[in-house]
Symmetry: C2
Amino acid sequence: MGLRERKKQKTRLALIDAALDLFHDQGYEATTIDQIAASVDVSPRTFFRYFGSKEDVALALPADSLDIFLAELSDRPESESPFVAMSQAMRLTLGAMGQRDEADHERFVKTRKLLDNNPAFMAGQMRLLMASEQRLLAEISRRRGTDDLHSHFVLALFTAVARVGFEYCQPDEVRDADALARRLDETLAIAEQSLVPGWDK
Amino acid sequence: MGLRERKKQKTRLALIDAALDLFHDQGYEATTIDQIAASVDVSPRTFFRYFGSKEDVALALPADSLDIFLAELSDRPESESPFVAMSQAMRLTLGAMGQRDEADHERFVKTRKLLDNNPAFMAGQMRLLMASEQRLLAEISRRRGTDDLHSHFVLALFTAVARVGFEYCQPDEVRDADALARRLDETLAIAEQSLVPGWDK
DNA sequence: GTAATTTATGTCAGTGAGTGACAGATGACA
DNA sequence: TGTCATCTGTCACTCACTGACATAAATTAC
């Protein structure tokens, strides 16, 4: 990887860090792009060359996580049913979050705090997810063998479970990757008890 | 109801109609608030006294529907489990949509077309729903007798089913209230087959 | 090592959403 | 009719976001 590429990665991470810190210190709405750009010594125009919008920089890590999730899902064995495959992929994704270097995990936790304090971001996460909806749907339909309304139901149900796992925390609750993983397992357990065996076949 | 109130209702509906027509004719992004305001002979500032944002005017009818849904839900008998109560309330809400006067149903269909062609609006609908999430959650917890993670699961599952019912249509499919009602019933049937009896108790 | 070629960045000018403040117009009501 | 509350238009402003162009820096070719 050349110098140019390394510089870009560095700038990208610097922008994310500056944004997360400013969002935390003075609030999301009160933070301007100019402030973020200024604290990285970069022009505002450059900010928009890295992130399409102010929301995008806040959701940069969730977006990365989604990519990891999609990659993990592709690696799941054919024998697993759609819901099981997605559940396992999600577990592995959260596991990977917990095993990153210090700085990366710091960003993860800061992002979690930000999303917890601004429920409006949930819509943004939905937007992210829906951008990959077609890919997910194709994967589900492939594993099920048919492409019908039932596939949509499986997808919607999984996103619902994922949402519950990520949302709804106590104000002072620790929200690192491990805590999230535990919460996801709890939610998956409830789902398992509620659904009839083979419902996603 | 006085003249002032009637005028306001009239302006509100005129803004919605103008917006929906402009969105349809030239696209959502390409339509400006100034254009909407101009076609109703109202200042742009006044537009924002009726709607908080450009998105809000597009989602005006879904927002109204949500209010109706919440009212219907309150009227459901105590004997119904949370999921059944929400399902019935949703059926009644869609039924009410189909029995409105011509102009209102026209707006309903136009809004549906708009949302179908701009998947980005799904996030907006989520935002709407989440604004009432606390009320819904309270209702579910009340009917279940406890307030725990399971209540969140019931809520998420219902919103998932509702989403599947409203989303995913063929490009040329008719999307009036009756068609939506049928689609919702289909989806509810799938949910019923997939869930163990008493899962939402 | 230098020259030619990409590619990233800064500057500038502009659009459009959204907001606060104030003054004037218009129903509501005694 | 006159007073009061409320709605509206105008103005000025902030901020997110974008296209165009010139410059600077990294990559590649020679």
